[in-house]
Amino acid sequence: ELKVEQNPLFLSMQEGKNYTIYCNYSTTSDRLYWYRQDPGKSLESLFVLLSNGAVKQEGRLMASLDTKARLSTLHITAAVHDLSATYFCAVVTWTGNQFYFGTGTSLTVIP
């Protein structure tokens, strides 16, 4: 059974601080996705990581993928309140058709 785990599950951080969210998965996959979800809303795609060593950056968020370690990270730089949301990683099976989501990390940025 494919398992995707994130940590931490809950993260409260002060504005201006840096932090990293981790996503571990149990099966071979060379594609990983990060999503953001605001309360009561659907999922918004943040990053698509397509190969080992891939790094993507958008604003204060940077995502990376290590397929050998089966690990992806989402790094937050100088957090601002607008980043408060739940962040999910998702892994795709080898067929490319089944997406399995991590447990989610609920991020709260406090002044």
């Binding site: 809303k41 659907s42 795609s45 067929t95 490319g96 058709n97 997406f99």
Partner: protein, 115 residues
């Protein structure tokens, strides 16, 4: 704009009364997915269609069924909703296969309340 549309956005039904949720897409994607997401939990894949090929997750209850009459539309039928079926239901699409750009696009979701 190409998009994934879900109707209705909010659905209230009674315990045991069948309900159908609708999803349509203008992306012409091969794969359509249905997820169930309960409060503070990750989306859980219920099933997906690759074209007309239906793929059910092993732990999806029989109470949940799906239909895909054509490429653009996919329906989620809940035959006898229980209180535990109250959740956000998310529809998503993707191009399918192992292609490099096989990204998943989500609709806005339907929030189901069971009374």
């Amino acid at each position: 704009d190409a998009m994934v549309i879900q109707n209705p956005r909010y659905q209230v039904t009674q315990f045991g009364k069948p309900v159908t949720l609708s999803c349509s897409q203008t992306l012409n994607h091969n794969v359509m997915y249905w997820y169930q997401q309960k409060s503070s939990q990750a989306p859980k894949l219920l099933f997906h269609y690759y074209d007309k090929d239906f793929n059910n997750e092993a732990d999806t209850p029989d109470n949940f069924q799906s239909r895909r009459p054509n490429t653009s539309f996919c329906f989620l039928d809940i035959r006898s909703p229980g209180l535990g079926d109250a959740a956000m239901y998310l529809c998503a699409t993707s191009r399918g296969g192992q292609g490099q750009w096989n990204e998943q696009f989500f609709g806005p979701g339907t929030r189901l309340t069971v009374l």
